[in-house]
C-alpha cells in the first residue's frame, strides 16, 4: 500500500506524536484532514496524543449533521480513533500508547462538559497539558 511505503530507515524508532486540534469543524477542512493523518499514523505504531483545545473541542461535540449545508459528516471517524486507542490498550503485542485529551479551559469557556462529547476523553488543565507537550517529539496541526 502506497501509504506505508518507506524510503528512510526508521526500523525500531519510536516517537511521541502530538496531533493538536485547535480549529472548529466544517468551517474549514483542517479538522477532517488531520483525522486522516491520525489514522494513517496508527499503521506506524507510534505514541499519539490527540489533543482538542480552543475551537478544536467543537470537533467532538455530539449530534453533527452537516448534510443540509451540503457537507460530509466525518464525525463518526472520531469513534474509529477511539477504537484504535482501545485496541492498542488491549493488545499486548502493540506498544503504542494513544491519549485523547481535551483542554479544560477551552471546554469551559465554551460552556461544554465531557457529556457533550461523542468519545471518551481525558480532561487536562493548561499546566498538565504543558507537561505533556514537553514530552513530544513531533507536533502536527496547530
Amino acid at each position: 500500500m502506497e501509504d506505508t511505503e518507506t524510503m528512510f530507515d526508521t526500523e525500531g524508532v519510536t516517537k511521541n506524536f502530538m496531533f493538536l486540534n485547535r480549529k472548529a469543524p466544517y468551517g474549514t477542512i483542517y479538522a477532517q484532514e488531520v483525522l486522516e493523518l491520525v489514522l494513517i499514523s496508527a499503521a506506524f505504531e507510534q505514541n499519539a496524543a490527540i489533543v482538542f483545545m480552543d475551537d478544536g473541542v467543537y470537533q467532538i461535540v455530539k449530534g453533527h449533521d452537516p448534510s443540509v449545508s451540503g457537507m460530509k459528516n466525518f464525525s463518526p471517524t472520531y469513534k474509529v480513533v477511539e477504537m484504535e486507542k482501545e485496541d492498542a490498550e488491549e493488545d499486548e503485542d502493540i506498544d503504542m500508547v494513544w491519549k485523547i485529551i481535551v483542554e479544560k479551559e477551552s471546554m469551559e469557556a465554551r460552556g461544554l462538559s465531557t457529556d457533550d462529547f461523542i468519545i471518551n476523553v481525558e480532561v487536562l488543565g493548561s499546566q498538565e497539558l504543558s507537561a505533556l507537550m514537553a514530552e513530544q517529539d513531533v507536533v502536527f496541526g496547530g
Partner: protein, 100 residues
Amino acid sequence: MLHTINKSPFDRNSLASCLRTAPDGGAILFIEDGVYATAKGTTFSGDVEGALKNQKVFVLGPDLAARGIAEDKLIDGISVVDYSGFVDLVEEFGTVQSWL
C-alpha cells in the same frame, strides 16, 4: 444593512469589529463557524445579548445542525433561518457586509 459573521468569536475578532461599527437597526446573521457565538453560556454570550438591543440577530439553521448545536441552547431573541430565509434577509435589509 445586513452583516454576516462566519468566524468563531473565540478564534477571530470579527464579532467585536462588527458590533463596534454596525449601524443601528440592521441585522446580523451568524453563519458557518460564526454560529458558535449564538449559544448560551459561552464567554461571548454577553456580547451577543448586547447586540440584540440594536440589531435583529439571526443564525443559519443548517450550520447549527452541522455543528450539533440544538436550538434550545440558543440565546433568547435569536431567530433561526434556512438558506431561503437568508435570501429574504438580503432582500429585506439592503446592503450586505460580510465580516470575513
